[in-house]
């Protein structure tokens, strides 16, 4: 093993980091400087008046006043509203420029590209979309995405809700929630590796190193290559997503459960409601909006899912999903048109869900 790691080779990167931070400070300082000029609103003595007084000097002569009076009238008529503009422009400029370059223009260009061929040289009409909905390999991708988006939100909500209910008001509540919440901090790539290890396969007869196959063997079964056999392999990938996201559902739903008024629970208890009745008649209806939030957020996240599939199977063995296929087409096979069409389709799928989410949020705010 060769261990002479070259620390000096890392130095240019750190210099670059320093440059980045310096650039950041410079930009922020410049923006603040530009803002510092004018007052937020005319004070009792507006800017124009201040300026005039300064021009007049400490001992104004009659001639000077006569000279400056028309000027002051002119300045005085400038409406206040217009002066907010430059300030707003300074504050908004960085965000708007970046959003324009990074999201608005690209979104339009991608839409255009989706009607063109692989290298963007000729128009092909709707061919890319036709490919997406007719060719078997692409249809498999859409089918997998559908399976993901049907299962993940429901499973995540179910597990999260179950856990939130059973740990509610127990002695170990906060630590118990933290345990399930921790995977939220782990990257999808890291989680992919963790679970690939759980699914690891060794031929029958030899010692298993993967937990799942070990359990199967312990109960007398034969070890399986879990990630290689469709259609079950997609389900094994879905388990990973549920494992990561259940903590999110637990936290959101647990907060909602705590928000149910104590009188309602007390009243139900006095009426002798059984735990099951309590859950379905009292708890669930009271936290309906939180459940919707979890379902909707998870649907959006699942539609855009890329990392887990990419890390664990690379989209092989019929496990690819839209985001992964988009990456493959656009960046590995050079089929920009097909990649763009997949991206546009993703946009079309996600938009109604997000619009719904926003409406829901507004209603909740009311």
């Amino acid at each position: 093993m060769n261990l002479d790691f070259d620390f000096a080779a890392e130095q240019p990167k750190l210099v670059q980091l320093l440059l980045g931070v310096v650039a950041f400070c410079a930009v922020v300082a410049l923006l603040l400087l530009l803002l510092g000029g004018a007052p937020a609103q005319p004070r009792s003595r507006p800017l124009a008046a201040t300026l005039l007084l300064r021009l007049l000097g400490p001992a104004p002569t009659r001639a000077r006043v006569r000279l400056l009076l028309p000027l002051s009238r002119l300045l005085g008529r400038v409406p206040v509203r217009q002066r907010a503009w430059p300030q707003a422009a300074v504050l908004l400029a960085p965000a708007l420029v970046l959003l324009g370059i990074g999201l608005v223009v690209p979104a339009v260009r991608t839409t255009v590209l989706s009607f063109m061929n692989g290298d963007g040289t000729a128009w092909v009409g709707l061919d890319n979309y036709a490919w997406m909905f007719t060719q078997p390999e692409a249809v498999t991708v859409l089918r997998n995405t559908l399976i993901w988006v049907l299962l993940v939100p429901v499973l995540v909500t179910a597990v999260g809700l179950l856990y939130a209910v059973v740990v509610d008001r127990t002695r170990f509540e906060s630590i118990a929630k933290s345990l399930v919440f921790l995977p939220m901090a782990i990257s999808f790539v890291g989680a992919g590796i963790i679970w690939k290890f759980v699914y690891a396969y060794r031929p029958e007869g030899s010692d298993q190193i993967g937990l799942l196959n070990q359990l199967v063997v312990a109960f007398g079964g034969t070890p399986q290559q879990w990630l290689l056999e469709p259609p079950l392999n997609t389900l094994f990938l879905i388990v990973v997503m549920v494992w990561i996201q259940a903590g999110f559902a637990t936290v959101v739903l647990s907060a909602a459960i705590k928000g149910i008024p104590a009188e309602i629970i007390e009243a139900a208890r006095l009426d002798g409601a059984s735990p099951l009745q309590m859950f379905f008649r009292v708890t669930l209806p009271s936290i309906r909006s939180a459940v919707v939030v979890v379902l909707v957020t998870q649907s959006i996240g699942t539609l855009k899912l890329f990392d887990i599939v990419r890390t664990m199977t690379g989209g092989q063995f019929d496990t690819s999903v839209i985001a992964n296929e988009m990456y493959n087409q656009a960046f590995r096979y050079g089929e920009t048109g097909k990649g763009a069409a997949l991206a546009v389709f993703l946009f079309v799928l996600v938009t109604p869900i997000i619009v719904y989410q926003i409406r829901q949020r507004r209603e909740a705010a009311r």
């Binding site: 093993m1 060769n2 790691f5 890392e10 990167k13 750190l14 670059q16 980091l17 931070v21 950041f24 930009v27 603040l32 803002l35 937020a40 004070r43 504050l91 908004l92 965000a95 970046l98 990074g102 979104a107 991608t110 179950l162 209910v165 059973v166 127990t170 118990a176 345990l179 399930v180 921790l182 901090a185 990257s187 790539v189 890291g190 590796i193 963790i194 690939k196 290890f197 030899s206 298993q208 190193i209 937990l211 070990q214 999110f248 936290v251 059984s274 735990p275 099951l276 009745q277 996240g301 890390t311 985001a323 990456y327 656009a330 960046f331 990649g339 991206a343 996600v350 938009t351 949020r361």
Partner: protein
Amino acid sequence: MTTVPSTVTAVRPAAGSAAGRVRKRLTNRTASAVAIVIAVLWTTPTFGLFLSSLRPEDQIKSTGWWTFFSDPQLTLENYQEVLFGTSSSSGQMASFLVNSLVITIPSVLFPLAFAAFAAYALAWVSFRGRNWVYIGIFALQVVPLQMSLVPLLSFFSEGVSVFGTQILPAWELEGPARFAQVWFAHTCFALPLGVFLLHNFMSELPGELMEAARVDGATHGMIFRRLVLPLVAPALATFGIFQFLWVWNDLLVGLIFAGGTADSAPMTVRLAQMAGTRGNEWQRLTAGAFVSVVIPLIVFLSMQRYFVRGLLAGGVKG
């Protein structure tokens, strides 16, 4: 799985009756059992990975990590190799760890500042068309990352040209300067959610406070710096930790804008590579995965309060 015993009786037990007590205990027991099962299921995979990363190579590859309990052997060799090994098959993870840091810090700072500026303008500077600008930024949340990857990449590599005339030159960044591309991309993608979150917090600040400051002649710069920033510090922390976790854990943006080499690619890209090409080198994969997990875990645990608050405020980025 059910949360409660399946026997549901319509009988109303008098409070404190023997039957009631028995049933209550049963309920508690089932609930605890369910809680324990879930907690174990959720922690075992990570624990197995961690334990494996500390076992000698030949053992990882031949026996399961649970054999550790009958035959405990620990070593730090895997970490040494995956971090500092220089052969092409080892991880060179130290290099990628540095990359991840260099990518993450500016990618958190820039969006934090720009989103805060924009959110302030949208909340407290009254100019015409303010609502439309806000709605516009807000609506950009629907644009998935995938929509902008190809065009943004060509923006970096070819510049901007309209009808054959070059308007902006290509960036043509080499070596460590490529990090700037990644910062740029992450900053763009973070803004819609950032502006939305910070605007939510800022617009809830009391209007009288702003009014008072204005009457006293404070400029927007002063109000922003001395009044608003300290008051929304928790919101900034929330968005900061979100963005940190997002960037640190991101694979897609790193894969496309940072390339795949030790020069600028983040750790996630390296791990995904290793999982693909060296899927059976578990001694490196387990140690490498654990290295990448440790830093976000520390950040997360120390700032969990802010994270939870952000989640409940609707801060989830797709």
